[in-house]
Each structure stands twice: as C-alpha cells, then as structure tokens.
Amino acid sequence: MGSWKGERVSKAYLGVDVGSISTKAVALDSGGEVLARSYLWTEGNPVRAVKNVLAEVEEQVDGTGAEIVAVGTTGSARQLTGAILGAQVVKNEITSHAVGTLSRHSDVQTIFEIGGQDSKIIIVRDGVPVDYAMNTLCAAGTGSFLSSQARRIGVPVEEFGEYALRSKRATKIAGRCTVFAESDLVHKAQIGHAVEDIIAGLCNAIVGNYLNNVGKGKEILAPIVFQGGVSKNVGVVHAFEQATGHEVMVDEDGHLMGSLGVALVARDSGGEAPFSFAVRDVAFETVGEECGGCPNECEVVLVLREGEVLDGWGNRCPRGMERVAERLGVSKVTVTSAG
C-alpha cells in the first residue's frame, strides 16, 4: 500500500553495544554500510542509555526507507539489552569486535583495544581470530587511568595527544600498577619534569602495561588496528608505534566496532523479526535479589517488562527464578534465558 510513491522498504540491521562506560549503536544496510550511528554515556543506567541511542538511530534512519529487521547486542549488558530489544543475536564482545574490525580491515593481524574500564587484544590470522586475551582487573592499562591522571596534571585528556607528540624525552613512569604510577607521577612532576614529557611518559606507561599484560606471550604482527576510546589519543597511538615498530591504524569508527560487528552477525544469522522503535516507550525494570534457596546464594536478576518477567539470569538452578519472582509477587516466569 504505502509504496505508491515509488519508495521501497530496504532491510537494515541494528547493533547495540552496552558497556559500563559508554553505549554505542549502529544501523547498517544489507551491504554493511552505516546508516546511523550513536555513542552516549551509559551513566550507570543501561536501560535509559539504550533508549537514548535508539532515539538517535531512529532519527537518522527515518526517511531512508530502511526498516530494522534484525537486532544484535553485545557488551557487558548484552543479555539485558538483548532481552529488552528481543534481539536475534546476543554476542560476546570479543567476537563482535573481531567481526566488526574484519569487515573494515580484512587483512588485520592484530587488534588492540583499550576502553574505559577494560582492554583486550585479538590475534587474527588469515581473516580468522585465533587468540585473544582480556583484562578487566587492572586499571593501569585503561582509559580511566588516563583521565584520572589528566585531572591530576590539569591538562584535559583530549589534549594529551598533542602534548605527548611535542615531547622530546618522555619521562619514565612506573606503569605496572595505578598506585605506583600515581605516586611516581607526582614525584616526577615535583622534581621538575616538563608536562609534555610526563604526558608522553604516561602514554608509554599505558602501552607498556598493555603489552605486558593482555599482550603477554602474543605474536604481534602488522597490520595492527587500535580501537576503543583510548585510540582517539594520538599520544598513545604514537607510543604503540614506537613499542611495536609497526604502523598502528585507527579507524574513525573504531569506538563503534563492537556494535558494527554484532549488527553484521545479526544480519548473517538469517533470523528476522519485526522491530519497532516504540520499545522506547515501554517501561523496563531490573531487580536483583539473592535467591536464598541454598548456600550457593545466587544473585538472581529479573528483567521486568511493564511489571511482568521478561527474562532473568544468575540462578544456578531453575528454582532461583521462581523463588525470586514469587517473592516479588510478579507473574510467573515464562521466558528462559536469552543465552
């Protein structure tokens, strides 16, 4: 009916990547071209963040004649987001990043990623990931370390790159651990090291820490692609190039690679279902409660949609969901975990 104007509805694929710091979304057409992109802070509220990125994506997709037919989610809140959006695909961040990066750089052999709170490395050979590692424990190798140090020095983190590039002789900073690095930095500043040298030293410390932790024992071959929030920092890029002796590429959509990858996986999964942006108007709520059914003390999380159980996880046995749902007085669990 609606096609009398000659416009055709084309298929589009939504990928949403919800991390603890930022939430990212892209919509792709069937050729993998980006129709819409959004990047916002999660601010501790993944449900709201997802709704907000959806609003931005809807605005950009509107009028292109594209319609979302499949959804993929990734990131630390992938399960929750998958439940809310009725996603066809819920994928871990490693696979999503590898698929996304490979779609842009088919010859990549090493993927570095440093985000706000974690970092990872993916080794690729012949277009296939063969090894990976991730670090979620040590803050010294992540973006949050850089921004906290920026505050200490009084230079905005966005300007770090330029400062670092101006340095002739980077200050050596013990980068093994946040606590050491901080006190070392204070000390070096007090004995009169120049700000640009200290900043260059910080970039080196991040890189050294990264290569010695997540990169340990890995064979790092070019082409190298560097992504995640910290890849926007030219100082760190430069430090990586010096440490590895290779050119380090940064994609302008580097921060979106996870969402891009999972949108592609959703496309290739073949599963399709109608999707409506109106999901933004639905009230979702998550409740976490200890089951208490046995000494395992499982932390059960339930996702409620308009007060009804949509999904849940964290239980080590089926009793957990039922117990918690009953206690909260919400209607019986009908859907099982989205995996």
């Binding site: 994928k91 871990n92 961040e93 490693i94 696979t95 590898a98 698929v99 050979r125 296939v128 990931p129 063969v130 090894d131 990976y132 991730m134 979620t136 024992g217 064979e219 996986v265 290739d268 999964s269 046995c294 000494p295 395992n296 003390e297």
Partner: protein, 367 residues
C-alpha cells in the same frame, strides 16, 4: 606414619574431601574401617567461602575446597578425616589443614594416605583405625572401589562426548543420576560390570544430533580443577551447551593405570609426547598437560582448554610451553585460571568467544 587419632572421642565417623563423583568409590574404600561414613555436604559457594576464609592466602584453590569440605563435614558430626597425598604442594596439605582445623577448635583424628596408590601402606594406616581389618576385606574393598571408579569414568566419558548434542534437554543428566544411584549401592564386581554395560548402552541409544559445525575440544591441566566440576564452574557442561564434544584424558582410572610400577614408563612417554616443547618434567601434572595438548592437536582436535588453580606452579611452567606450541601451530589454547574471585560471567564470555573463534576457523559462520 600419617595417622593421628589422639583426639577422637567415641565412635569414629569418617569423612573425606569431595572430588567429582568419586565419593562413591571412596565410600566403598572406607567401609572396611567399620565406622559411620559421613559424606560432606554437596559443594556450594559456602564450601569455598569457608575454606578460603580459614586458608593462608597464598594457597591454591584445591586446598581451600578440601578445607571447606572438612569444615562442613566436621560440622555435621565427622571426627575422622582422610586426606590423600601426592602432587606437589598437595603433599603438605594434610599437615597444614590439620593445624588450621585444630586452631578452629575442632577435635578429630586424621588419616593421611601418603603412599599414592600403594595398597600396603593404606592397609597399615587403616589398621590403626580398625585393628580387626583383614587383608582380604581391605583387598576386596579396593578391587570393588577400583571397578566402580572405572565404571564411573567410562560412563562419564561417554557423556562428555555426547551430552552437547542431545535432542532432548537433560536426557543424559537424568540417566547419569540413575547410574550414580545404582553404582553407589553395588558391592560386587559382577554387578558393577552389569551396571556399566547397561548404562553405556542406554546412553548410546539417547537420540543425538551432531551439527556440521560441531567442535571437538580437549581439556588438560591440574587434576583437581579438571576433575571437580564445581571448582571449574562446570566447564564441561558449559562446553556441551555450546555444542562441543569434550575430551579429557585425566581421570582417576587413568591415574591408577599409570601409577606404581608403570609410573616411570608413563612419564617417559609423556616427555616424548611433549617434545619439543618440554625437555624436562615441570612437576605435578604440568608435563602431561603439554604432552596431551600436543597429542590432541595431532589428533585433529579444534582446540584445547587449559585449566589451573591460580598460582599453580607446575601448570604455570606448562603454560610457557603451551603458548609456544599454540603460536607455532596456530592451535587455539584457552587458559583458565581459577581462584575464589573467578567470575562466572567473565568465564562465560571467554568460552563463548573461544567457541566462536573455533567455528570461524572451520569456515562456518558463528552462531
């Protein structure tokens, strides 16, 4: 001599640490003591918390689980604890655990089986508890326990290889439960053989569907985390859920077969298999981890999981060799280190990524 009975008051109530389903043969083995047998409560988070709270910080998780089992067993009335020795630090477990438990105010006796699989030493230790114990009785219990162990290992191996492909959810687990219950009651070799045969047949007839992108993965590493599913966060089940056929060499049957007079030949074979990645033994199970990974690779497996307790030195030594093997042959090895802080969700993410990676390598789309 590893027996200390000074503090036991009243009748003996014997207990032991858990490992997988081996509590079944262990109970058989303990029966000639002619006293009440107290099986520790099922492993839960509480077991580990209790164990970790009272352990020195630096010890590996098997120590903490064992200690947790002891505390939970003592709390329900046990007063005589059995500890098996072997391995590296494992050899010192019993003394330290005994001291910790006494500091906590528990009164109990301890039997340390330090002789590995040396039957004569076990009998000597057991006679300290039950002087009436005849050689014949002990031998019979030993034979029955061994046969139960073998049946257990056979059936569970079949399960590891097939449970991931069951058409009906939980089919294997239901049969497995019935199997354990029957095996637990059997005390005659003939009966055990019959149980084994019947259950192997029943499991073999469970409808399964092996997909085209089926994966075959081996698991190697430190023996306790390999054999105690709770301590490895049920990694075999988790792999099965992801459509993986799981292979594991290390079982108690395997250990018994290669102990005693076969030990030297076995170790030589392991070193040969580990060549060129290891030249010398690296202690405990480390050499086997390298040897078996090498074999699994040559047998065409898709990848290997290496499991170890955090800080386990023999396995840390093995890792360097495994990393080299993995790099030189682009053979995927996933390293998992367990301590009481290991996060279940983090592990799930890594397993997902690993399986995706193996599937992409096979040229099949990830699912």
């Amino acid at each position: 001599m590893g027996v200390n009975l000074a503090q036991v008051e009243g009748a003996y109530k014997v207990s032991f640490p858990h490992m997988g389903n081996y509590c079944i043969p262990v109970r058989t083995l303990a029966e000639p003591l002619e006293c009440e047998i107290v099986t520790p409560p099922k492993m839960t988070r509480r077991t580990l918390e209790l164990g970790a709270r009272h352990s020195p910080e630096f010890v590996c998780v098997p120590f903490k689980y064992n200690l947790g089992n002891y505390i939970e067993a003592l709390d329900i009335g046990a007063n005589l604890l059995i500890q098996a020795g072997g391995g590296c630090r494992f050899g010192y477990y019993a003394e330290v655990q005994e001291a910790i438990l006494r500091d906590l105010g528990y009164q109990f006796g301890m039997v340390r089986l330090l002789g590995g699989f040396d039957l004569r030493e076990h009998i000597r230790d057991f006679r300290a508890v039950n002087p009436r114990l005849t050689l014949w009785r002990a031998l019979k219990a030993y034979r029955v326990a061994l046969r139960q162990t073998k049946a257990l290992d056979q059936v569970e191996e079949l399960m590891r290889k097939n449970a991931g492909f069951e058409v009906e959810d939980g089919a294997f687990e239901r049969i497995h439960k019935r199997f354990l219950a029957e095996l637990d009651k059997a005390r005659e070799i003939r009966v055990i053989e019959d149980i084994e045969r019947r259950y192997l047949a029943e499991m073999a007839s469970v409808p399964i569907e092996r997909p085209d992108d089926m994966l075959r993965v081996g698991i190697v590493g430190e023996l306790y985390v390999l054999m105690e599913p709770f301590s490895n966060y049920f990694v075999e089940k988790e792999l099965a859920r992801r459509g993986v056929e799981v292979h594991r060499f290390v079982t108690v049957s395997h250990m018994v077969e290669n102990a005693g007079k076969h030990k030297d030949a076995y170790l030589r074979r392991m070193i040969e298999l580990a060549d060129p990645y290891l030249k010398y033994h690296v202690g405990a199970d480390g050499t086997e981890s390298v040897a078996m990974t090498h074999k699994l690779m040559r047998d065409g497996f898709d990848g290997v999981l290496h499991l170890k307790p955090f800080g386990c030195m023999p396995e840390v030594n093995a890792m360097a060799a495994l990393q080299r093997l993995s790099r030189e042959h682009t053979f995927p090895v996933l390293f998992i280190s367990y301590d009481e802080q290991t996060s279940e969700t983090g592990l799930a993410t890594r397993l997902d990524a690993f399986c995706d990676m193996l599937r992409m390598r096979k040229g099949k789309p990830s699912r």
